[in-house]
């Protein structure tokens, strides 16, 4: 858990963003290459490496989703490519509507916009669930929760890709 060590925070899934930021600033003051402009080449190289790890760590850990992905990845629980079964029917219908829109049928637009909003709502629910599970895992260290979090992350990735695709098509095929 190199990123947690770089910022000197305990390896937990839920972190206080303000505390994380303060630690990041504090470590930056210590290690930024600007502080070593007149140091030896070896010290400069060390500062460069420390700071690049620190920056990578803060960028990853400050975002709850990236943080969870990193945390699970470090425990060998990388992302899977399974599409969430319960969404398949809805995604199928949406793809039909997307096809109509691509062919110039603007009447498909309201249906797509509605689908988009549902997915947005779903995303918020997933995030909420992930947050709850993260807190519970930090307390109980229950491994089964990690698998639940992994499938939550998989769903999240799938849904946000859907939203991105719909947005793209809605913006490309604008009504004249």
């Amino acid at each position: 858990m190199r990123f947690y060590e770089a910022l000197d925070v305990p390896p937990r899934l839920a972190l206080d963003p303000e505390d994380l930021k303060q630690r990041f600033y504090g470590k930056s003051r210590l290690w930024h290459p600007d502080r070593f402009a007149r140091a030896s080449p070896e010290e400069q190289q060390k500062a460069l490496e420390m700071t690049s790890v620190l920056n990578d760590a803060f960028r990853t850990l400050k975002d709850p989703v990236q943080r969870a992905e990193y945390f699970l990845g470090e425990r060998g629980l990388g992302p899977t490519k399974h599409a969430p079964a319960e969404l398949l029917e809805e995604v199928f219908e949406m793809n039909m509507a997307l096809e109509e829109l691509r062919e110039g049928d603007q009447s498909a637009r309201p249906q797509l916009e509605a689908a988009r909003n549902r997915f947005e709502q779903l995303l918020a629910e997933i995030d909420h669930g992930l947050y709850d599970m993260s807190i519970r895992f930090d307390e109980a260290q229950d491994e089964s929760l990690l698998h639940a979090i992994r499938s939550g992350l998989d769903r999240r990735r799938y849904v946000s890709n859907l939203i991105r695709d719909v947005d793209k098509e809605l913006n490309v095929h604008l009504p004249n």
Binding site: Y25, S28, H32, P33, D34, A37, S52, F58, R59
Partner: protein, 612 residues
């Protein structure tokens, strides 16, 4: 004349790190003092010219040469930094750049009978700034912080660093211009909160959003356009005036370089005037004919509207990338000469919903910030720290001409990414990695940065080699690549082929060449200093002849002094500063007892007048 010097300390002061704003139109040098940053010399126009005798001139003098010798003078060279012949075709239509014949992957400009790359031209501007700074500081200047547009890509940054090296400056840091402005601005007030910097200069546009907290300046996002600036407004007005003149006079003067430059000066004057008065006129005389076109602010605003509009897209994108609400941005700082235009201020105010700050001189604020950064690097400024970002995503070419992003834009720098590479066929001896910068998905839509060649792999079955490549963007925003053989752990050599710009060997050759010139400069300065000293001692000797002590010297001593003065005069106009120094020493020695006599007389005189 011997003088009794007081030594104020045996240690020489450490040479200062200067901050340089290397602008498209103008450049400036500043330094950090105990009281704060201070501009060291006047504005140096970013213009370089080669005189008929082959002498290279930079600055205000060169700007005058633009009117008399446009064919051997270059301006706005910053637009060409780090670019290839193929991607400056638009630029060539608008700017009178004279490309040297045979200009290959590295652009070469023809100035009179000399050929120079853009970094070499910039180096002449830097050398002028260096000399100005040395003249004011009285010490040599060898280290600098140079500012670049935040949206500069790797090649443009590298070219700027090369220019510094060619000019004899160790570039300790490249700082993004809007960030430098924020540093200068936030210094005295210890501000907190969100600040946007809108930097609309001569040739480039940048916008950055920063979070200020307890001396930390954290850039959250940056955006911009490296080919958008006041130049574009000048070119627009120039085109209109040329068309007018064509229809009024029935004459196409666009082919006459000198006339075009005079007309360009006239439209710039009109543009600048319109920032202060509601109407003016573009006035131009040529070949006994006169052209005059009245212009009101309303007409001007309508003309430049589309150009100003082009700055707003990057602003919106920047707000989005910073993930902040526009209402939460506390202040907007205005930088660059083009922000004097009232329409620009009005549009910025509308977009950011807060009154833009214009109290600092928009021409000076970047150089002042560069000086603050120099102070940080020197350790003189302890409580401030800049955390900047990379403006463009970094990616590598994958199958099918696609780009896989490995470091995303707006990542805090230094930033790194590690990738593993292997071979595709049995016995493959090298792996070529193509690195690109940009946001698009296809290789052809991104900017090629360099090709890295992992050579001399041991022959092995396909897929067995494991080379770990580390991509690191340093605090200057410049990419460094290192490779390691995973099986052996040994460093693996990487050969870099930059897509644009100079190779290390080319820069080295230019440094050597400029070193000869710097030696000449140095010799010139030493000569000047020796003459100044000679003047001083001769004046002192002349004055001493009127002193009572002089009459007390014997004939031989007087003769010795006369001879020493005579010999000094003989070498005075020569080119050998060492000889002048030798003769100064000789005169010093000859006047030694005279100086002692005078001291004694003075002390006796002083004692006589003192009541004990």
């Amino acid at each position: 004349m011997s003088t009794f010097q007081i030594d104020f300390g045996t240690e020489k002061p450490e040479s200062k790190i200067v901050g340089i704003d290397l602008g498209t139109t103008n450049s400036l040098v500043a330094v950090m003092d105990l009281t704060g940053p201070r501009i060291l010399s006047g504005i140096v126009p970013s213009v370089v010219s080669v005189s008929e005798s082959g002498e290279v001139i930079a600055g205000a003098e060169a700007r005058e040469m633009l009117l008399t010798h446009p064919d051997r003078t270059v301006y706005s060279v910053k637009r060409l930094m780090g670019r290839g012949t193929s991607d400056i075709q638009d630029e060539l239509k608008l700017f009178p750049f004279h490309l040297a014949s045979g200009s290959g992957s590295v652009l070469q400009l023809q100035l009179g009978d000399q050929v120079m790359t853009p970094p070499e031209v910039s180096a002449h501007i830097l050398r002028k700034l260096k000399q100005d700074a040395e003249a004011v500081l009285g010490t040599s200047v060898t280290q600098a912080v140079i500012t670049v547009p935040a949206y500069f890509n790797d090649a443009q940054r590298q070219a700027t660093k090369d220019a510094g090296r060619i000019a004899g400056l160790e570039v300790l840091r490249l700082v993004n211009e809007p960030t430098a402005a924020a540093l200068a601005y936030g210094l005295d007030k210890r501000k907190e909160g969100l600040v946007a910097v809108y930097d609309f200069g001569g040739g480039t546009f940048d916008v950055s959003i920063l979070r200020l907290h307890d001396g930390i300046f954290e850039v959250l996002a940056t955006n911009g356009d490296t080919h958008l600036g006041g130049d574009d407004i000048d070119n627009l007005l120039l085109r209109i005036a040329l068309e007018d003149i064509q229809s009024e006079w029935g004459e196409d003067i666009s082919v006459k370089n000198d006339a075009v430059q005079i007309l360009r000066r006239a439209v710039i004057t009109a543009k600048e005037t319109l920032s202060f008065v509601p109407s003016t006129a573009i006035v131009f005389e040529h070949g006994g004919k006169r052209y005059e076109r009245a212009m009101s602010v309303d007409v001007f605003n309508r003309l430049i509207g589309p150009i100003v509009e082009r700055t707003l897209g990057p602003c919106r994108a920047c707000i989005k990338d910073a993930a902040v609400n526009v209402e939460d941005i506390n202040e907007v700082v205005m930088v660059g000469g083009s922000t004097r235009i009232p329409l620009v201020r009005a549009e910025v105010e509308k977009l950011f919903r807060s009154r833009p700050h214009t109290e600092l001189n928009p021409d000076e604020v970047v150089a002042l910030g560069a000086a603050v950064q120099a102070g940080i690097l020197a350790g003189d400024v302890q409580d401030q720290l800049l955390l900047d970002v990379t403006p463009l995503s970094l990616g590598i070419e994958t199958m099918g001409g696609l780009v896989a992003k490995i470091i995303h834009r707006n990542s805090t720098i230094p930033a790194s990414a590690t990738e593993q590479f292997t071979t595709a066929v049995d016995g493959q001896r090298n792996v070529l990695i193509h690195v690109l910068q940009g946001e698009r998905e296809l290789v052809k839509d991104c900017r090629s940065l360099a090709r890295f060649d992992l050579k001399d792999l041991p022959p092995m079955p396909a897929g067995l080699a494991r080379i770990e490549v580390k991509f690191l963007i340093d605090a200057n925003g410049i990419l460094n690549v290192t490779a390691r053989d995973v099986r052996t752990g040994a460093e693996h050599s990487v050969e870099v082929k930059p897509s644009y710009g100079l190779t290390d060997e080319q820069v080295e050759a230019m440094i050597l060449e400029s070193f000869d010139k710097a030696q000449e400069d140095f010799k010139e300065r030493q000569l000047r200093e020796a003459r100044v000293e000679a003047d001083a001692i001769m004046a002192a000797t002349k004055k001493a002849r009127l002193n009572d002590a002089f009459t007390m010297l014997d004939e031989a001593e007087r003769k010795l002094i006369d001879r020493a003065v005579g010999e000094l005069l003989v070498v005075y106009h020569g080119q050998d500063h060492l000889l002048i120094r030798a003769k100064i020493d000789q005169l010093n020695a000859a006047t030694h007892s005279l100086a002692e006599q005078m001291m004694n007389t003075a002390v006796r005189g002083a004692l006589k007048g003192t009541k004990i």
